[in-house]
Amino acid sequence: MKAWLIPAPLVVLLVLSALHLTLGAASIDLGVILAAFTAYDPTNYAHVVVIFQRLTRLAVALYAGAALGVSGLLLQKIMQNGLVSPGTLGINAGATTFVVLGVFLLGLSGPGLFLPALLGGIISVMLTLLVSRLLTGQGDPKLNLVLAGSMIGALFSALTTFVLSMDPDSFGNIIGWIVGDIGNFDYQALAPMAPIGLLALIAAAVMSRAVDILVLGDEQAAVMGVNVRLVYGGTLLVAIVLAVSAVTVVGPIGFVGLVMPHIARILVGEIGRLPLWLCLVGGAALLTGADILARLLMAPRVLNVGTVMGFAGGLVFLALVIFGTRRSER
């Protein structure tokens, strides 16, 4: 095992976190930033910026990135498909649709949106698997799964657009969330989501060995005493809960769950707990980096993190595909 891969991502994450707290639309001296932590003065607006605008955004970026990274790894492992992620399976789109419906029909807000989002995530995955099964025998099953996910995602996106068009004025404030964004108040939604996510992360770590065995194939896993259905279903649920808890806070941010498992696989393969660790820390680092860019590229304007992540994540994924192709040619 490459031992350095345990502390190295943590160091990267710490450096990015420090940059996140240091850089922003307002120029704040390092001493003032440190003082905001050691001697917080609510009448000093620079302290307010550090604690209530930068630190809170950082916490949200860390959580959402970690949750999406681990969710993507779990999905790719149990489905043995490097193209699946919360985005490509339609989970993000399904959760978004049900959140919009929850707002429109029931007037829900805040943590109350988690349950409809979870329902949307579960329904979208079930529909994706169903459609994928209908395509059995036609073409590559791995591509069929992603194709089915894209179809279901497109259907849910259309439904979201339809609901939004019913009363555009009342949805004006959540357009940023629908694109996928980190807002200064998202930490309020994070508070109730974090314990759920933490439990899901513990469950992912606990099930890690069983999931590794599942990778060997259903029959082999059954021979080795693994309850295939239970592990598959449990892991799928954990992955959905992680993705949906992130979507509830920041909206449907793509690419983290798609890209991080590939990076982990290149560095350490996919067996054991180390890939899980890399996706946890790496996902957090990826989204933190994207948020730094979102806050700096056009400062004092703040770009949507989802847009930045989509652009940067797309480029990274393309690079990974090219890298993977060249490596397999050798």
Partner: protein, 316 residues
């Protein structure tokens, strides 16, 4: 007698021919459009800009888009309701719900001129053009708001009325200046609204009648407004730069229908930027002023008179 009848018929024919006279005008989206010199059936597809402007000038408005009042279940014309008590019926019919164009409803009104809005209806221009000549109005094209209003006045053949109202407004500005500017000849201001949903602030380089009147009176906008990109009316800025709102005044706007008032806007500012109330000079000096949004967004003369009324009341 026969000669008189013939003269009457010829006069009628001449009038009819005149009513169908057309000229070609370039709209705000850059399209050269052939429209009637005197449009007799104008349909506006944006209530709180083109509709209220056409109505104020006495244009031949027969239809407008409207919005749903969720409390009453009735449709209303934003800013038309507030500034002119203008509603549907009595000659102005609903052309569509705002944001959901209904081509059949628009066609049923038999317009001879449609006025769309680049922000909402540009993508439907080709379809609209099949119904009637369609001009695109762009209140956020970076031009002076009153220049845009004058353009629209020309489209509906009411330039004379526009000039008459403009002269009255300029006279009122001259009279109000000594009252409103008694304390400070060139106070600074920022026009903004807090965005409590995402925790940022919305800075306006122009905001309809509100900023038009302020600029005409001699208020100077704060440097932060210059950081709004050219040609855009507004930009969302990080709340980190709240310290740059250190102007003499902050002007905001609120929506009464949503239960908002000036206190609400101050509370939202404090939510977005905790501690701002204690650091911003305008808030400390009671010069954080919020006006009713639907009264101050259109750059119509009624809206500008409302802003002047509010400022004069504050000065007293």
């Amino acid at each position: 007698m026969r000669l008189l009848a013939l003269a009457a018929i010829l006069a009628g024919l001449t009038l009819s021919a005149r009513a169908q006279d057309t000229h070609t005008i370039t709209d705000h989206a850059g399209f050269a459009v052939e429209i009637p010199v005197e449009p007799l059936r104008v349909v506006s597809l944006h209530d709180w800009t083109a509709t209220v402007m056409t109505y104020e000038l006495g244009g031949n408005l027969v239809g407008s888009t409207g919005r749903l009042n969720k409390t009453t279940g009735e449709y209303f014309i934003r800013s038309g309701r507030e500034l002119y008590q203008l509603g549907f019926g009595h000659g102005v019919e609903m052309a569509s719900v705002h944001g959901q164009l209904d081509m059949e409803m628009i066609a049923a009104l038999e317009p001879d001129l449609i006025i769309g809005n680049t922000g909402d209806t540009l993508e439907f221009r080709d379809q609209l053009n099949l119904i009637a000549p369609t001009m695109m109005f762009d209140p956020q094209n970076g031009h002076a708001p009153l220049d845009n209003y004058r353009d629209l006045a020309g489209w509906v053949n009411r330039t004379e009325k526009f000039d008459e109202l403009l002269a009255q407004y300029e006279a009122r500005i001259a009279a109000a200046k000594p009252i409103i500017m008694a304390e400070n000849a060139a106070p600074t201001y920022v026009a903004m609204t807090p965005n409590p949903e995402d925790g940022d602030i919305r800075i306006f380089s122009t905001y309809g009648a509100q900023t038009q009147v302020l600029e005409d009176l001699g208020f100077l906008h704060g440097a932060i407004a210059d950081r709004v990109p050219d040609g855009e009316q507004e930009a969302y800025f990080s709340a980190e730069i709240i310290g740059e709102l250190n102007t003499d005044y902050i002007f905001s706007s609120h929506i009464v229908d949503d239960g908002e008032d000036e206190t609400t806007m101050l509370k939202q500012l404090e939510e977005v930027a905790p501690g701002a109330s204690q650091t911003l000079p305008s808030v400390q000096n009671n010069k954080f002023i919020s006006m009713q949004r639907f009264f101050v967004y259109p750059t119509t003369f009624a809206a500008m008179n409302y802003v002047l009324d509010e400022l004069e009341a504050l000065a007293k």
